[in-house]
Symmetry: C2
Subunit: 115 residues, 2 copies
């Protein structure tokens, strides 16, 4: 078998640095393909292809206006990643910081509960 498809899920899709760069650019504002070609200084097919992968996993959405295709980020789709990483957060920091981290966690939990 070959490696996991880039469109398998959000994790696979953002494995490619260029696609992360696209998302970083698009989060600022929606842009057309040509806008991105200029901003990234990549070839147009390159932009379109990476956008396709991002769209396949719903990390970007597309709005067509005549010849122009506006792409925008769908930030919510990154939540699974945040949540996945979250389960490791409690172990962040070295041994010396463990206690402090633990107390901070407790405080944070309380804050969350209050909301």
């Amino acid at each position: 078998m070959a490696r996991t498809s880039t469109t398998n899920d959000v994790f696979s899709a953002i494995g490619e640095p260029k696609r992360r760069a696209l998302l970083e650019q698009l989060v600022l504002q929606q842009m057309t393909v040509s806008d991105l070609v200029e901003a990234m200084e990549w070839s147009q097919p390159m932009v379109s292809k990476h956008l396709k992968v991002l769209k396949d996993v719903n990390l970007v959405s597309e709005t067509k206006v005549g010849r122009f295709h506006y792409y925008r980020v769908q930030p919510d789709e990154l939540r699974p990643i945040q949540e996945w990483v979250h389960q490791f957060e409690k172990y962040w920091g070295g041994a010396l910081e463990q206690l402090d981290s633990y107390l901070t966690d407790i405080q944070k939990t309380r804050d969350d509960d209050e909301r």
Copy 2:
């Protein structure tokens, strides 16, 4: 050119679902290769190979005790991912939730400052 190497960075390494599964298992406790073979129900070479990728990007560390190689997660290495996703968090939630999200952010920032 071919696709980005899995050991290019942490993002690429966790693109593979099996490697995420390994990390999820190892975060509970350090384990040897055979422990993982049993827990995951994968072949031994499969476990070793995926561990190698994770180790190359420092997501796991290895401690050798005789024949046994104990692997453990290095949770801090996931921080870059958390930070990368963070820049998109402020846009989470639909339009209706935007205001609430905005206010929550402000409160959170204040909490952070107080610590």
